[in-house]
Point group: C2
Amino acid sequence: MDLEKLFKPNSMAVVGISKKNPLSPGRIVLLKNEFEMEVKVYGIYPTAGEIEGIQLYERLDKLPEIPDLLVIAVGPDDTLDYIQDCADLNIPAAVIIGGGFAEVGGKGKKRQEKLEKIAFKNEIAVLGPNCLGVYAPPIVDTIFLPTERITRPPKGSVALISQSGGVLVDQFFVKFNERNIGVSTAVSIGNRAVVDETMLLKYFSQVDPKTTNIAFYLEGFKEGKAKKFLQLAKESEDTVIVFFGGKTREGKVATQSHTASLAGDFKIIYDALRQNYIIQPHSERELLTCLKVYDVLSHKRNPFGKNVITFGDVAIVSVSGGHAVLASDMLKKYGLNAVRFSTREKKDLKSFMNPSAQNIASFNNPIDLTGSVLDTDIENVIRYLSDLDKIECIIMLLLPYPPNISFQIGRRIANIVLSKNKPVVCFVPYVPKYSLIIESLELANIPVFHSIKETIQAVSALKERTRVDNLKIKNFFWKERP
Amino acid sequence: MDLEKLFKPNSMAVVGISKKNPLSPGRIVLLKNEFEMEVKVYGIYPTAGEIEGIQLYERLDKLPEIPDLLVIAVGPDDTLDYIQDCADLNIPAAVIIGGGFAEVGGKGKKRQEKLEKIAFKNEIAVLGPNCLGVYAPPIVDTIFLPTERITRPPKGSVALISQSGGVLVDQFFVKFNERNIGVSTAVSIGNRAVVDETMLLKYFSQVDPKTTNIAFYLEGFKEGKAKKFLQLAKESEDTVIVFFGGKTREGKVATQSHTASLAGDFKIIYDALRQNYIIQPHSERELLTCLKVYDVLSHKRNPFGKNVITFGDVAIVSVSGGHAVLASDMLKKYGLNAVRFSTREKKDLKSFMNPSAQNIASFNNPIDLTGSVLDTDIENVIRYLSDLDKIECIIMLLLPYPPNISFQIGRRIANIVLSKNKPVVCFVPYVPKYSLIIESLELANIPVFHSIKETIQAVSALKERTRVDNLKIKNFFWKERP
């Protein structure tokens, strides 16, 4: 089944437009594609006419061309008729927004079976039912929520596939925007009657060139598809990240009325967890942290060059002792270790410091430069640590409160990182007046986080990706020598 | 020892002012109090003269009055001389900013012993050394970091005591501001040579009327003081919250060079954990969540009246199935339970819904009203749930993306809560365009959070406070009947 027309249609038609209600889903989709996206869009209305200046057509077969994509925003029985129309007219892709299928049980289940039969027989790439569909900028956007209510994420390397439209639009879009994580395409799969997570994984890892990170919110794998999913993840050159909702008993009960995911499937999920090719964050926030760091480093100039984090050996540099303590507290949980410095190394580090900080700073790991720190102290310490092979990554806890830290400090750190290529992940408080510092680091693609926990998680996420990448190479090697 | 003069001085003097360096700590403290705070402030400089229009005095005994507070920003040996001056001149309180005491070991330890001797003998309330001191608006602010670099928190019910100045200014001040949590007084205790967490707990719970919540960041209790601390917490009418840094082996190593807290003390901490009068968040973020909900509900008009959360029996109302699943996943971990609805109750709930949502919404707990929801559906459901005694709290996951939710929805929910007094805690995405909704809830003192996790944590924090309050009452009862 070819998914290309779902994400890159030249033309699309929308059915289910109301002339009376400007907030009807079909009308919102028609207008947002006409006014905001690049696809050529046609509206279908039984008596034709026009709406907000857009000409409408009575039926699909009256359109000036056969569209690549049909967006269906009508009741469930009419929906089936339109899917039959797709088959008859050779429309290769459809998005079904409405519910009333498997998720309501009984009659709905039968409807969904009928839908599947037509779609598979005629190779129609159907998304949904019960979904928001596709956001594939700059071409097409079938999300029936008014654009002005949504926060669109920036462009980037991440393909997002979500079993929940709400999670896609809120947990992903809003928080991607906050964190400046870039999206290539977003897909809400709803009941995934036809197009499912496995087909999408294949498409994004094998076909779509803009995507290098593929992230899933799932409430369970589609029945019988978990193995294939794992196989595709294993073979993918992209990084595959899956976050599961409904892991607890309470959550599972909730999924029953949401996406009707089978509880039995959860055994397969846990098996998948044991596999090693998929990155599995423990929380939504950790998912965001993974994606931020993978997006920054995979798509753009990578300031760390070929340096990766294999063992998790870090140095923590702070200007606040308390922050150093809080960061140290989290290391073990995230599989990281504070490297020990030799007496010689401590002496060297001390020798760089300005006289007022020299005797109060401490040079164990964590290094606490104290509030008497100068820019040059930070520079000297980072430069020195960058040359120590035993350190894989520097965690820089950068509080710009001490009076002698200048607002140039971000640029100064960036310059060292860009010349030394040692991985550095920074914490800078999220305060508008510090954006000069944050932006100068981000311009150099150095990941910046605004909580100590996310900073530590980010380093852990880089280590995890190294592990997965190594396993994939090993796996490939095996195939070469049977 | 009377701490009043630390927080409510009529006059203060500052030593350690540089005429050359506008960023010297003493000079920053002098100027910020002169220009931003209410206390009468004097500067000491060996050759007198003036600085930025402020007259300076040669020595403390040349001042026109004996100040209530002395801020000392000089080297460690000179510091001891100034503490002796406090004794000689009857200055009742001092803040020592500089380091060079117990935290550097050896000679520094001896200095600290000398300091303690003078202070305790003469009853001088000394804060520090190695600290930021006091922020007690609108009277005094001894934080030597430039005010324009700091984010000051709003006014409120929380007294903050931190063993780390960096944690106080960054983890507390910045994040309090983000979350709109209000502070009465903030104290950085540094090495706590004289004034320690136990004395401060006593002051804030027994003397200061503006404080109803007392929060601590500690890396360990001061030796020999843990028992007294627990006793005071038990007797306090205020809510006492302690978050410990340096709990892991790695963190403990870091505390050694930071505040030289004794590792042996940790046993006492764990004993304290077993006590039941102190609220112990598991993470910094959970600490913030506790404080937000306690601040909102303890200081102002309480929209929940006398209703408390005892058993953790909740109803979840969502407009996104995925959010409902994610929230349900967290309930058990936070000691909460989704109440079961009877068939009758489900039928009632369904009967309120608009026709397009009626057949796709689901009325288990979580309740998913779907994207077809109207304002009136949300109102009817909340009103109905408010009348069910078996529900202690409604968790409202409010995504304003569905086209038919109006921006009046916050006010509408608030009106119901204010008339029914059923506890309602809301999740609303943190997006500037939704501030109309967020603010209308917050105006009614209904707690609003911007992540699902914090929303669940907030309900759990309310349950935890009920438990502690109940224990204190029981404890009191015991005392009545020996």
